[in-house]
Amino acid sequence: MNDISVLTGGRAGDGINSAGLLIAHLFNQMGYQTYMYFDYPSLIKGGHNFTITRAADKKIGAHRERCDYLLALSQDSIDLHRDLITDDTVILFDSGRVHGDGQGIAVGEILKAEQAPAVMGNSCLIGAFARAAGIPFDVVETVIRRQIPKEREKNLVIARKGYDSVSEKRSIPRAGDTCCPLLNGNELIGLGLLHGGLDAYVAYPMTPTSNLLHFLAGVAGSFPLTVIHPENEIAVMLMALGFSFAGKKTAVGTSGGGFCLMTEGFSLAGSSEVPVVVVMGQRTGPSTGLPTYTGQTDLRFVLHAGQGEFPRLVVAPGSPEQAYVWSSVALSLAWKCQVPAVILVDKTLCEGTYSFDDTAMTVPDTGDEPAPSPEAGQYRRYAITENGISPMQFPPMKDAAIKVNSYAHDEAGITTEKADMVLLMTEKRQRKAQALKYETDSLECVKTYGTSGARTALLCWGSTLLVCKEVAERLGFRVVQPIVFSPFPEEQLREAVAGIRNLIAVEENAEGQLRLLCHQHGIPVGSHIAKLDGRPFSVEELDARLREVS
């Protein structure tokens, strides 16, 4: 199998993320499946940023601990990755900044000769990489024409100079004719929400979902979408509820710290039955933690966030395709059942770039929202119904006063402290939880992959899915991935683990949050493999850790 890893490193401000993405596009044009991991510290200029762009002829979503090509725009890019460099590694570097073995490219001189800004150094670099990897220049040209919005001709001249300044070292064969859209998880969550009918997105910047805010703000002109960045996350959540109250399908985005500020409003959504979707991008906690690194430590937080008891939908997509599909589903079900929903993701999925399978965009039909109340003049926002879901109307509605309330309330939405009414409304919310469970039961809430009949299975959730799938394939294991966490798909999970003797949880948290959840539901999980340093599992690391326990 073709399996190539390219490490591109430089300082923050060098445009390493863009360079890695252009490399991914070169592979994409060569018919490869790609995945790009972006590693960067929390600073704006300087430091050490790197991307690992991986290409293979099958679907991938994890990085390897190897480096077939190293493109260095800084000395650190070589010095800090010596463990990945072998005799076979093809090293290309900016000779103006880096000393080492390999082929130097006089990036600064080339840019100076063309009177080009520093940012065009990326074009020089990918030109040189293409030559060293035996990729024809017309592929470079295609990528630059398609992916660089400005000054294409100048970028092409610079890429050509880079191309001509090195020699071919290790040729990469064409892998096929398929060329996929390359997108990051944030973009796919955004597109999924738009598919689900998103009208408004409200967010305060916070890694790893800031780029979702940027993406949606960027497309708000072409889609019928309003994007607002208010003063803080408390305002974000409350503003979103204002939008929803007035009939606009609304989502918010944040990370753990921001979600802490949102939880009072989240509980208000539960009480007032005003739907809202929260995109919760996990990063390494607790507190500020490692802002630009990953983790899976907030599962229990989102399951329990907010005072009081109220039904909520929690989904944790694990692949770019699931990010798209489940973001749409989350928005639809939040509205159908009038509950708050959480799309629980992490830095790996949000900021990783993937070859997106656009044949896997089919969103299951979640059916229609309940029909509006027929009788004008009789409208009661919290009318008691069999399934607990009341017809939802929005102002202006003639001859009606639409009242929503954070307090315990009666059917009309007026505050009450009467015991019988409080009980009725609590039971109504419980019936809504059942209605939500009925909805999710019709969906594939738990996915299984890998060797059928295998006695060992990896139990994973979220972005670790793709590394688990790859390693399980190597080891002949099955993979079980719950996607929905609330309501908990106990029956589907039981069915998925039937016949498994050794169920190994793979989670990026110390306490084994999914494992504990399974135990609560009487589903035994044997070992727990944790990853606690903020970095996602590489294929090699997970493989080695599994060999220790299985």
Partner: protein, 283 residues
């Protein structure tokens, strides 16, 4: 079907003599005035915080969002952005607007969203049984400050002028026709309208005598003159025994926040097609 007098059948639980009664009827009358001017009643939405003031959401028979403590303004902003045809009113307490949610008040003024914020400023926490608020006088003896507060109040009028509010007014529950008139003007102002209502708390801070003695209605004041408004605002610092001006202190027409967001008409292209077209740019 909303009742003709716009009052619900909910049992009223304010204390006898509470200033909220005056405010409720002043606001009701101002709303009736708007409706008489042709604003459909169903286009009016009231957002309340938490506290004694907020019960007005239960008592007025109009659309309402009874939210949480301090958060009326972001809710109202979301509603207004979602549907600019709605008239959105916030009733907030001084604990709501000046303590728990002060950030939103400043940002509401800064954005100039076309909403009206009425602060039921009784200068005490009533529903939690008598603690000091940001506008209680220095030395206020409340249940959390039995020895008296050691912090001076701030001046919300000056704060709103500094934050860019385009409509800044003060009234009092001691003058119902004045209050109703000011609220009516605030509702008609296009932009962020702020009304500080000095309201007595019959149980914990009844300073009717102070407001009657020191209060006066503005005359000859030019509300277009920002400097004059600042001087008037500084006349009374919410602490001393100085004269207290009631009326419209400042008014300025400015572009409103929601103007910057285009209203979306239904697209002929399906979302799915739009998404597919976007994906093509990523190949």
């Amino acid at each position: 079907m909303p009742s003709k007098d716009l009052i619900t059948t909910a049992q009223n639980t304010w204390c006898p003599g509470c200033g909220n009664f005056t405010l409720q009827f002043a606001l009701r009358n101002a709303i009736k005035g708007l409706v008489a001017d042709g604003v459909p009643l169903e286009n009016i939405v009231l957002v309340t915080g938490i506290g004694c003031h907020a019960k007005i959401g239960d008592y007025l028979d109009i659309n309402s969002f009874y939210s949480i403590h301090g958060r009326t303004i972001p809710v109202a902003t979301g509603i207004k952005l979602a549907n600019p045809d709605l008239t959105v009113i916030c009733c907030a307490g001084d604990g709501d607007a000046y303590a728990e949610g002060l950030d939103h008040l400043i940002f509401g003024a800064k954005r100039n969203t076309d909403i009206t914020v009425i602060v039921h400023n009784n200068r005490v926490y009533g529903l939690t049984t008598g603690q000091y608020t940001p506008t209680s006088p220095l030395g206020f003896r409340g249940r959390s400050t039995p020895q008296g507060t050691s912090e001076a109040p701030f001046n919300p009028i000056s704060l709103m002028l500094a934050s860019g509010a385009g409509f800044v007014a003060r009234s009092t529950t001691r003058k119902m026709p004045h209050l109703s008139g000011i609220i009516g003007q605030a509702l008609r102002h296009r932009g962020f309208s702020f009304v500080d209502v000095l309201q007595i708390c019959a149980s914990y801070f009844n300073v009717s005598e102070l407001y009657d003695r020191q209060g006066y209605e503005l005359s000859g004041h030019d509300p277009a003159d920002f400097q004059a408004a600042c001087r008037k605002a500084e006349e009374w610092d919410y602490n001393s025994d100085a004269p207290i001006a009631f009326g419209l202190l400042y008014k300025e027409e400015k572009p409103v926040f929601e103007e910057h967001f285009s209203r979306h008409s239904p697209s002929s292209v399906s979302r799915e097609e739009q998404i597919r077209a976007f994906l093509e740019t990523k190949r």
